[in-house]
């Protein structure tokens, strides 16, 4: 079964994958918003989503995960979809506050970078729209403007989560 979804929030995405697993559908592959599911036993897997570090050795990290009994289901750019069988016990990638804060900081940085690129694109499209007065350029400008707002919201959301975690300390 294939489903198309656009998720920006990995926590919401993770919850959805978990719900699918509860209903007997296991994620097999992800590519550009298309999720491929195959039947599984209800609640057979626990899913986690993680963002790979840009600077550290990702091969080493993925090998470490496999050694720890974690299956790398799918990978898209720096995002990885991970799972473990439910019968093998609880599975959460980050279990203390510091490493959780670290993870959200990493995600925030990722969205900040994308946000900057999108803002640059926005101004290029905007100036093209102004000079050409073409409807096509204007619609692109609006589209990119919306994307900019979405990423801005994600950066803000990560910051909010980091602050919540800091208060728990």
């Amino acid at each position: 079964m294939k489903k198309f979804r656009l998720y920006y929030d990995k926590d919401a995405e993770q919850n959805w994958l978990q719900k699918m697993s509860s209903n007997g559908w296991a994620l097999k592959n992800y590519f550009l918003g298309i999720y491929t599911f195959v039947p599984c036993e209800p609640d057979e897997y626990i899913y986690q989503i993680d963002l790979l570090d840009s600077c550290s050795d990702e091969k080493d990290f993925l090998a470490f995960l496999e050694d720890s009994g974690v299956e790398v289901v799918s990978r898209w750019y720096r995002w990885v979809y991970l799972r473990k069988k439910t019968e093998d016990g609880p599975f959460e990638m980050y279990t203390d506050i510091d490493s959780k804060i670290n993870q959200y900081s990493k995600i925030k940085k990722f969205f900040q970078t994308v946000l900057i690129l999108e803002v640059i694109c926005f101004f290029i499209e905007f100036s093209a729209a102004l000079t050409s007065k073409s409807l096509l350029y204007w619609s692109f400008t609006i589209l990119i403007g919306i994307i900019v707002l979405v990423f801005l919201r994600m950066v803000w959301k990560c910051q909010w989560k980091i602050e919540q975690l800091r208060q728990e300390k």
């Binding site: 993680d50 550290s56 990290f61 470490f64 995960l65 050694d67 720890s68 009994g69 974690v70 016990g89 609880p90 599975f91 959460e92 990638m93 980050y94 279990t95 203390d96 510091d98 490493s99 670290n102 993870q103």
Partner: protein
């Protein structure tokens, strides 16, 4: 070394679990067993902790067999043991002083 104390619970138990050569999965298993499932280390948390312990020289890579893709094993260093026992000393002091509570009853 002073500001490394107190150790976080996770670091304390990781150091304990590598008193003999142990790999990532083994560390997670052992810590969960000896704490009766109270402390479950997430693989992401453990990975970060191992790297920070390696860079502090409190643990070292014990074996890495590249040919057979064997799991990496880690072992505590002398420096790591020193930090561990320093923490144990602090914890003993806590337990010792906690007895004062009973005296007032």
């Amino acid at each position: 070394m002073e500001n490394n104390i107190p150790l976080t619970e996770a670091l304390f138990y990781i150091l304990l679990a590598v008193r003999k050569p142990n790999h990532g999965y083994g560390i997670i298993q052992e810590v969960s067993e000896i704490t009766d499932g109270r402390l479950i280390l997430g693989p992401g948390t453990l990975y970060g902790a191992i790297n920070s312990l390696l860079s502090k020289n409190w643990i070292k890579l014990y074996s890495e067999d590249k040919t057979s893709r064997k799991k990496k094993e880690y072992l505590i260093t002398e420096e790591g043991k020193k930090v561990f026992y320093k923490e144990v000393e602090r914890l003993e002091e806590l337990i010792q002083n906690s007895k004062l509570m009973e005296e007032c009853v």
